[in-house]
Symmetry: C2
């Protein structure tokens, strides 16, 4: 039995390691995508786009491994939670990778359009916070720290507020001069993608909570559907 | 053993039934969201927003059930594929529900903004095709029809092309008169959400292919990264 338990432990560790790996890849993809945007570096953007395949592959590998371990080891409740949580987190991370890829595609499309550095600064700032959130929640996962995960969840409001204010700024530029339209719409979609990265960080925080405590947050997320009665900036 | 096999069969059928159920809910959510948009019916939009919780709940239930069956029954390859495929499909369907909710939120936000019926017609048409794709791929799943699923996959180009043309039309309106901006940006995000529903239909088609054949499409999706060097309409 000793042997079985230990092999099983290895399985769990392998899954956790793969999640850490895909998390690192996603962090880098987001960071690179925004660097590509601020420097209008289409080469770097292309690398982010190509690199997304590796995230997709790894997510699928984590799913396969998790299913195999569940089928083979028939884990007990808390271990099962750990495996299912890892699958869910990998799923959210893969979607973060997609969003980074979307931003990178915008960078390629922006190429040649006259850029407004000031506007990019706003997107950069939004992204910094989203990236911090992503890092923190992945750390919370690695250290199984429910409180740290909850702090990430509660901070998502900040990203939403920043997004809304950035949106208004972009709208003003678009109203001022139709020649700004194309560029501003690109940035608008970039900002929306970043805001969604924040949502995935929140999802991951919820998965950490589930893994650590076995419970789901009963109360809705802080933002809930407050955005319904809001502005054009809504989801 | 007869008993065990039969109970197992019941498990598989229950999962398939739940996937059909969530698929039906998603279809209705998308249909209602677009009807709410074309009629600017905020009451219907609110019902779509509220109804999304049921999709989330059902997706989680399918995941739980699938994991339980895998742990209890240790299924063989082809059955395992069926269960994993169902989980993946439910995941994509849940995301379709989110996109329908996003459209419904826009309808609520649009309320009071002067509408351009003509522009809404374009979005409506895009949505009709996306909804057809969704229906067809869910039918393909129900009948395990790989060819029908592949037809859905190959038709995604059409949605992308329609989206791009609609995007250009919206851009023209925005350029013409800044007073159209707010409304057009709402529609732009709606159109993007619908285009993504098409992407999920493609994902589901790939999952059907995996369930039926045990293989993944080796070649990339038709559209691949063609959008990289494209226009502002990109992802």
């Amino acid at each position: 039995m000793e042997h079985t338990v230990s092999a099983y432990d290895d399985d769990l560790k392998a899954i956790a390691r793969m999640v850490t790996e895909i998390g690192g890849l996603a962090e880098r993809a987001v960071g690179d995508a925004v660097e590509a945007l601020t420097r209008l570096d289409t080469g770097l953007a292309q690398r982010v786009i190509t690199g997304d395949k590796e995230l997709d592959r790894l997510q699928r590998e984590i799913e396969d491994k998790a299913i195999l371990v569940i089928a083979r080891r028939q884990p007990m409740a808390s271990d099962l939670r750990e495996i299912v949580g890892a699958m869910r987190i990998a799923n959210d991370i893969e979607r973060v990778g997609d969003l980074a890829k979307n931003i990178a595609k915008r960078v390629v499309a922006i190429n040649g359009v006259f850029p407004h550095k000031q506007l990019i600064t706003g997107v950069e700032h939004l992204c910094e916070i989203a990236l911090q959130q992503l890092k923190k929640v992945l750390d919370a996962y690695a250290s199984q720290d429910d409180q740290a995960a909850n702090a990430v969840r509660l901070r998502d409001d900040e990203i939403d507020a920043l997004y809304t204010s950035l949106f208004r700024e972009l709208l003003t530029y678009m109203m001022e001069d139709p020649r700004n339209l194309t560029f501003c719409i690109h940035l608008l979609f970039c900002a929306k993608n970043i805001e969604r990265i924040g949502d995935h960080a929140t999802n991951i925080a919820e998965s950490v909570h589930y893994v650590v405590t076995g419970r789901s947050y009963e109360d809705e997320r802080p933002k809930a559907d407050a955005s319904i009665d809001s502005t054009v900036a809504g989801s």
